[in-house]
């Protein structure tokens, strides 16, 4: 079967526009996303049935994240102190390479051969699976969705539902081909197959890796939410646990997680809480009978401090990774997660990725939006995503010698021609005389407009100016009126 072959894969070397174009032509993919996103939107709406409560909670969520960011360096140090007191090893990494090197050194110390991983988007940023794989260490995903995409050599297409682009038939074929089991489209059976395979892996693994949803500075606690139990397995069964997270994930107090947790699970899946909320504050104590002997936390920057430096762009770091912005995005729903070509798809991906990889690598991301505003409206921590997209568009056309260097790769879409045209346009609109002359010629010479005017005519017919401008017609009309009036008076 070649059903999988049609799914655009992230490794494909083509640009965003091509990938988006291909995805738009893939009826299966579009159907899979449409159904999933419709259902997630409905569930969220039901979970927040009281709009007043929802808005108050969003305001509180925003305030908690903003407060945490307003004292981020102090909170990171407090978190580190408390974690160390609890017996956790804390590591800092500026880049994904540094983070991978830290993980590798822990792997080597323990001569580990098998790593089992719970869902972690930061480990996706690090491409940890490939990094460890290239060094002879098996790094296996344990979240069902992540396991499915890894088995098919793909990347997640959604941050909460990694395999949402596939249907049961595609998973059945994949399991049949890769695991040698009988083909089935029964979801229960497919999950039981995954359970059997992965139980063995939890049992054997030398190291468990996880992400972190909230790191509580006050108590030195790493909080993880999940439904499957793979996160608990990864953080409890293997003798060593490595948690990887971005530096922005810290919150000040334990009580701060109460509203954030409610916002997270209701926004993401429309459920009051996930099956498991797993709060880890240290390794196994000497007298305890299970749990890892060693717990490590890797704090990764990877461009976050760049976003942090600008007080407007800093709001990007409010994100609690619920995925609601992508579920509600008309662009994401139509092109799916892979078209973005990066770890974080959808609206949040468009504002966070440029800080991680540089605007020059993802020049189309800020403009791949209709600015409809849905993402900002549903964001549980009120990130003004449309505003930030517009801001990134501006940064992206700044002249290379612009005084403010806000971000890596800025000005990647700067064009002298375009800049000249806009300056001329501005000049034209500032001078009434010039504008009249322009209007006169634009209307008189309207038949000279070419049939093809750049990208516009790919999907539209070429614009043709009217025979007379509104200005001109209004002037004529007013002149006629005043002539009639003066005639009556006489």
């Amino acid at each position: 079967m070649n059903t999988q072959a049609r799914i655009p894969v992230i490794e494909v070397e083509e640009d965003f526009r091509e990938r988006a174009h291909d995805a738009l032509g893939d009826a299966q993919l579009r159907g899979n996303f449409r159904r999933a996103m419709d259902s997630l939107m409905t569930k969220r709406a039901v979970a927040f049935s009281d709009p007043e409560e929802r808005e108050d909670l969003r305001t509180l969520g925003n305030a908690i994240r903003a407060r945490a960011l307003s004292k981020l360096p102090d909170l990171l140090e407090q978190l580190e102190r408390n974690l160390i007191r609890n017996g956790v090893h804390v590591h800092w990494a500026e880049t994904v390479d540094e983070a991978n090197a830290i993980v590798l050194s822990i792997v080597e110390t323990h001569e580990a051969k098998q790593v089992i991983k719970g869902k972690s988007m930061v480990s996706e940023e690090m491409e940890m699976n490939d990094f460890l794989g290239a060094r002879g260490v098996e790094c296996l995903e344990a979240d069902m969705g992540e396991y499915i995409v890894q088995l098919d050599h793909e990347k997640p297409s959604h941050i909460i539902m990694p395999a949402i682009h596939k249907n049961a038939g595609q998973v059945g074929t994949l399991f049949h081909d890769k695991l040698g089991v009988e083909y089935t489209t029964d979801v229960d059976q497919l999950i039981q197959i995954g359970r059997r395979v992965l139980r063995k892996k939890f049992f054997e693994a030398d190291i468990g890796v996880s992400g972190v949803n909230f790191a509580v500075a006050e108590t030195g606690t790493l909080l993880l939410v999940e439904n499957e139990g793979n996160g608990r397995m990864c953080t409890t069964v293997p003798p060593v646990h490595i948690a990887v997270t971005g530096i922005e994930k810290v919150v000040e107090n334990l009580r701060d997680v109460v509203p954030l947790l409610s916002l997270l699970t209701r926004s993401a899946l429309g459920i009051p809480i996930t099956t498991y909320v797993n709060m880890i504050s240290g390794p196994r104590k000497p007298h305890e009978l299970d749990g890892p002997q060693e717990v490590h936390l890797v704090l990764l920057d990877n461009g976050r401090s760049q976003a942090f430096a600008d007080s407007e762009l800093r709001q990007t770091l409010n994100c609690i990774r619920c995925g609601a912005c992508m579920n509600h995005c008309p662009v994401y729903t139509r092109i799916g997660g892979h078209a973005y070509g990066e770890v974080y798809p959808g609206p949040i991906g468009k504002i966070i990725t440029p800080h991680m990889v540089g605007l020059a690598k993802v020049p189309d991301h800020p403009s791949a939006s209709s600015l409809c505003g849905a993402c900002g409206e549903v964001c549980p921590v009120k990130i003004p995503i449309p505003t930030l997209l517009r801001r990134l568009r501006e940064e992206n056309v700044k002249a290379p010698d612009a005084p403010n260097q806000v971000m890596r790769g800025q000005g990647s879409k700067y064009s002298r021609k375009e800049r000249f045209i806009w300056n001329a346009w501005a000049q034209l609109n500032r001078s009434p005389a010039l504008y009249r002359v322009f209007g006169f010629f634009a209307t008189r010479l309207r038949s000279l407009v070419p049939a093809k005017v750049g990208p516009w005519t790919q999907n539209h017919s070429a614009p043709k100016p009217a025979a007379r401008s509104l200005h001109e017609m209004a002037r004529e009309h007013l002149a006629k009126q005043s002539a009639e009036k003066s005639g009556e008076q006489r």
Binding site: P73, W92, I191, E228, I273
Partner: protein
């Protein structure tokens, strides 16, 4: 300069001249909509937990070991893992002693390394207590201990949990305050709201992903 120093220096530089935002945590917002009359708490918890396939049985101080024994028999479980050094573990042992028809008990009384294979391959069910529950979200609260370790409520496919009705709290905020969580967290604290589940394939809900396939809660009506 180390990565740590670089990151902290960059962050501090970006905050130059800025004042930290004041803490205006809105306690009402996380308590008021999530408050219940005492007599409603069991019903509220039950509604939410049953909605995610949790099996719930009401019992009392005298009969809960009998209820547990009957459930184990009904499910034809070949054995039951208990925490022998806990008061509820001892109650179970005492009940089992006088009921030879019940399947054997297993004790989690040694480091996992000493019996990992048996735990994974040959431990069909377990019984633990809870530190209470949360009515607002339908969650059991667990703080595993040396006596009742973490994997007990995770690896066996069937998990029986004992909950005292008097320890059902309204919401997570109340739990944190009344149980003084911020003053000292255990190695691992958990909220468990049903059996393990996933919707990763086509959003179809399937139970028994990696953790227990069945969660059975015995609510001891002591309130």
């Amino acid at each position: 300069m180390s990565a740590r120093q670089n990151i902290l220096a960059k962050l501090r530089h970006s905050l130059t001249g800025a004042t930290p935002i004041a803490d205006n945590f809105n306690e009402q917002l996380v308590t008021e909509p999530w408050s219940y009359a005492p007599e409603q708490r069991v019903a509220q918890l039950r509604k939410l937990m049953e909605a995610v396939h949790t099996e719930i049985h009401l019992c009392n101080e005298a009969d809960w070991p009998t209820v547990l024994g009957q459930l184990v028999l009904d499910r034809q479980l070949p054995s039951l893992l208990i925490a022998p050094a806990t008061p509820h573990g001892r109650r179970v042992s005492a009940h089992w002693d006088v009921h030879p028809e019940l399947p054997p008990l297993k004790a989690y009384d040694r480091p996992v390394e000493d019996w990992k294979t048996e735990l994974f391959d040959d431990t069909p069910a377990s019984f633990t207590t809870t530190l209470g529950a949360i009515a607002a979200t339908g969650s059991l609260i667990m703080w595993p201990t040396r006596e009742e370790p973490r994997l007990m409520s995770l690896v066996p496919p069937v998990h029986f949990a004992l909950l005292r009705a008097s320890q059902i709290y309204d919401n997570f905020y109340e739990v944190q305050q009344k149980q003084k969580w911020a003053e000292g967290m255990p190695t691992n604290a958990l909220l468990v709201s049903g059996p393990s589940k996933t919707a990763d394939i086509e959003q179809v809900l399937a139970y028994g992903a990696h953790g227990p396939k069945d969660l059975v809660v015995l609510i001891l009506e002591d309130a």
